[in-house]
């Protein structure tokens, strides 16, 4: 099976090259047979990549340690689940997995467009095959072939890093990759539009669902990563501003900008060059992130030297794509002229443009901060780095303004906002925001940035709920429906708009949660069994924590566990017993790592109580069950509002799915143009 997979990977190389050439040639000559062949070659490449991936998986499941990749990421005792997910555990498999997902999305695109949009499809097929070809070339020639063999067969593999043996870590990378690869489809349509000259909003309409799909997976994938960090890395944070995280945030920022700016092109025929640039930039950043997340480029110059080859291949590919696109855009510049102009500073166009500018500013600062060590070393020879304080200092102000725009953008009028429009929409929300600020101040909140964030959030939520309320009420009155039904119909009639609002509510919830971090508390204790410690929550109540003792189990290597030391802590809140929490140290057999920490979390809507077993006073004594060797270092964190990150993300996901759902909007059906104004009002037309 594995041999077959390796063979399939080699075969996919000429097939992809063939498809690429035929795609461009077919588009140029308009010959249907060439185009058909190009499209079919995409199915073929997908099939071959599927075989190759199956080959890698078979090697994992069969413990074929003669393969470098399997030996590096698995061992005989590894749980089956992690053998199955071994395909994307490391760089080599991830690159194959990336190509596989792209092949899958490309096949869907070719299939759904087999009867329509024929003016785009030859070039779309050509572009998709070019990118597939690139990844196949990397896999085969950049020293990252997952089928590479060692010149000896080790008795056992290295095993998987214990920190990666976590549920979230197995779904986080594939989710992100789904986001990265699906963004390739809008990129391919954009290039096809540049090549065939159809430069109106058609390519955007055709790929709107792909853009949203990609955005959905990017957002959820990033939050999965946060969740993993929060549960597994064991210091209670969810975001570290490290290069790998930043790399996944960059395409999200530009994709979010793109998602908003395409609405200006669709509604007002403006920003055509800008949208082309954003789609290009986002695509390049997904490639950059793919490359960076699985290499050590930023971390150390030493690993850069080891990976010089793959770095050069990736950088020249990105450079080539960039140059090609810039030439194409410049060539088409006359046809990309704006059909309208911004009429007023106070208009939706302008709000959307500021949103774009801020998102790009954030992206630029994140990029700058991430690359700063490399840049400074290149320029001055002295490596200088910037840490989380830099990213926070720049991005928190930008984030707060963006948050305000989330409220302003959707209700300010297109073209030119009148005084009446402003008063009607913003008077109440501004008052609610101010009242919130005053209320929080009286309640004892003093942290400025958190106060501002929460007040702005209240302002935005008021605007969004007012919109929902107005729409529902109007519908309930006109149609005589109950409010619940009216609400349901309102949302389903214009899913794109109301789904977007639900996404915004999710985003606001997450911002509220992020600001909660200003009130994190951190206490450390050295405790013996029976000791009671007290910590006070920023909400005012007190937790009494009783350290009950340590239970040690010595494993025999099942699940690669050597031993586990579990500390049990009973929790009481203001004297009321609230159950027990455990936090543990685990020693895995494979690798010469230190024990891993598993944290204990009690999560309620208001806050998380987060316990960390920092260290055992006497590990050997504890393992030998010696009395008096049960003392531990216990770290107790209280993390206000953290839960709202996950709830907000869920909301955001629901909203995106609603916006994605195929619409039954009658106004868009052929012959349905003359819908009554009443119908338009009911759908909540903007």
């Amino acid at each position: 099976m594995t041999i077959l997979g390796e063979f399939a990977l080699w075969i996919s190389l000429p097939v992809a090259a063939w498809g690429m050439i035929l795609g461009y040639a077919g588009g140029r000559t308009q010959r249907g047979d060439l185009v058909l062949s190009a499209e079919r070659s995409i199915y073929a490449v997908f099939g071959l990549l599927l075989l190759a991936s199956a080959g890698v998986s078979a090697a994992f499941l069969g413990d074929r340690f003669e393969y470098w990749y399997v030996a590096s990421y698995s061992n005989a005792n590894l749980e089956l689940f992690y053998k199955v997910t071994g395909l994307w555990a490391g760089q080599r498999g991830s690159l194959l997995f990336w190509a596989l997902l792209l092949g899958f999305f490309a096949s869907i695109t070719v299939f759904t467009n087999r009867q329509k949009n024929r003016e785009f499809m030859p070039y779309v097929a050509g572009v998709l095959q070019s990118i597939l070809l690139f990844f196949i070339v990397v896999l085969l020639f950049a020293d990252v072939n997952p089928f590479e063999r060692l010149d000896f067969t080790p008795a056992d593999g290295q095993g998987l890093n214990p920190q990666l043996q976590n549920y979230w870590m197995t779904i986080h990378p594939p989710t992100l990759y789904l986001g990265f690869t699906s963004f390739t489809i809008p990129f391919a349509f954009a290039i096809a539009a540049l090549l065939n000259g159809r430069l109106d909003a058609r390519w955007i309409q055709l790929t709107r669902r792909w853009i949203l799909t990609s955005w959905f997976f990017l957002s959820v994938g990033i939050v999965f990563g946060m969740r993993w960090a929060y549960e597994e890395l064991g210091w209670g944070g969810y975001w570290f501003w490290d290069p790998v995280e930043n790399a996944s945030l960059l395409p999200w920022l530009t994709a979010t900008a793109f998602l908003h700016s395409i609405q200006i092109q669709e509604n007002r025929g403006m920003l055509k060059v800008w949208n082309m640039s954003l789609v290009l930039m986002t695509f390049l950043l997904t490639i950059f992130a793919t490359f960076l997340t699985r290499s050590g480029l930023i971390e150390s110059v030493h690993s850069f030297a080891q990976e010089l080859k793959i770095a050069y291949i990736f950088l020249s590919f990105m450079g080539g794509v960039l140059a090609t696109c810039v030439i194409l855009i410049v060539y088409r510049l006359p046809q990309l002229r704006s059909e309208n102009q911004i009429e007023s500073f106070l208009s939706r166009e302008s709000a959307f443009l500021f949103n774009n500018l801020l998102l790009l500013g954030a992206a630029f600062s994140v990029m700058w901060g991430t690359m700063f060590p490399l840049i400074s070393e290149g320029v001055t020879g002295q490596e200088i780095s910037v840490g989380p304080p830099f990213f926070e200092k720049v991005n928190l102000p930008i984030g707060i303004v963006l948050l305000a725009l989330v409220g302003i953008g959707p209700v300010i009028a297109w073209r030119r906002a009148t005084k009446r429009n402003l008063q009607r929409n913003f008077a109440t929300p501004v008052i609610v925001g101010l009242v919130t600020a005053a209320g929080l101040w009286i309640g004892g909140a003093r942290h400025e940035l958190a106060l501002v964030t929460w007040s702005v959030s209240a302002f935005v939520l008021t605007i969004i709920f007012t919109e929902f309320w107005k729409g529902t009420r109007a519908r309930a009155r006109i149609e005589g429906e109950g409010y619940a039904l009216a609400f349901f119909h309102l949302v389903s009639r214009n899913r794109r708009r109301w789904g977007g609002y639900i996404v915004h509510v999710g985003f606001v919830m997450m911002c509220i949660a992020f600001a909660g971090a200003a009130y994190n508390t951190d206490n450390r204790f050295n405790v013996q069994p029976g000791d009671v410690v007290e910590v006070t929550s920023p909400f005012g109540h007190t937790y009494q924590l009783t350290y009950e003792g340590l239970s040690v189990s010595i494993g025999r290597g099942q699940r690669n566990l050597l031993w586990q030391a579990i500390a049990t802590v009973s929790v009481a809140q203001n004297g009321d017993p609230k159950g027990i929490l455990t936090t543990e140290k685990r020693q895995y057999t494979n690798r010469n790592t230190q024990p891993m920490t598993e944290v204990g979390i009690r999560s309620i809507l208001r806050e998380d109580l987060y316990l960390i077993l920092s260290a055992l006073n006497d590990t050997n004594g504890a393992l030998n069950n010696q009395p008096g060797a049960q003392g531990i270092d216990l770290q107790v964190l209280i993390k206000p509002l953290v839960n709202w990150i996950w709830i907000g993300c869920f909301m955001l996901a629901i909203g995106t799915v609603i916006a994605l759902w195929p619409s039954v909007d009658r106004r868009r059906l052929p012959g349905g143009e003359k819908t009554s104004e009443r119908e338009a009002a009911l759908a909540g037309a903007d």
Binding site: W68, A71, S72, L150, F152, P154, A155, D156, Q158, N161, Q163, L164, G234, W235, V244, G296, E299, S300, I342, E343, S344, F345, F354, L357, L358, G361, F364, S365, W368, G369, F372, P373, Q382, E383, I384, S385, V386, G387, P389, F390, K393, V394, I398, R524, N526, Q587, T589, R591, N592, T593, Q594, P595, T597, I612, S614, A615, T619, N620, D633, Q635
Partner: protein, 149 residues
């Protein structure tokens, strides 16, 4: 066009603010990333460097780790990756990451005190975040390193 002008002012304003934030952000938060040898040289040349926050990459000297009883204070020695004779003591008051062993490569942030002890405020281990091992080590697989203190 008049509105466009005002609009352009707004755009340039936003760009300027972002640039300003990045500029001040970098100058206020940047830390020099040096090797132990470079740090020694810098301190020698300019004693005020004792007060400058730096990031140092080095390797923990095997067997040098000790924990001060009763306190959350870890003490160990770090040497240069290339020149093993360049060493300094490190004091670190926080929980150690799981990936810390007494032979690991570490990146420390803090300052070198006048008495020659490096007071670290953050400690990162280097192999941890890449989650990858060199397959060549497999040739000697089976010999587990002793662990735990």
């Amino acid at each position: 066009m008049k509105n466009n002008g005002r609009f352009m002012v707004g755009l340039v304003g936003v760009a300027a603010v972002v640039t300003y934030l990045i500029w001040t952000g970098v100058s206020e938060t940047m830390v020099y990333y040096v090797t132990p040898v470079e740090l020694m040289e810098k301190v020698e040349a300019d004693p005020t460097f004792h007060d400058v926050g730096v990031k140092v990459g080095g390797r923990v000297v095997p067997g040098s780790y000790a924990r001060v009883e009763g306190e959350l204070l870890h003490v160990f020695t770090v040497h240069d990756l290339v020149d093993e004779s360049a060493t300094f003591r490190v004091e670190y008051r926080d929980a150690l990451p799981d990936t810390f062993t007494d032979e690991v490569e570490v990146v420390l942030e803090g300052r070198l005190r006048e008495d020659g002890v490096f007071e670290a405020t953050t400690l990162l281990t280097k192999c941890g975040s890449r989650y990858e091992a060199a397959p060549e080590d497999l040739a000697g697989a089976g010999a587990e390193h002793p662990s735990g203190y």
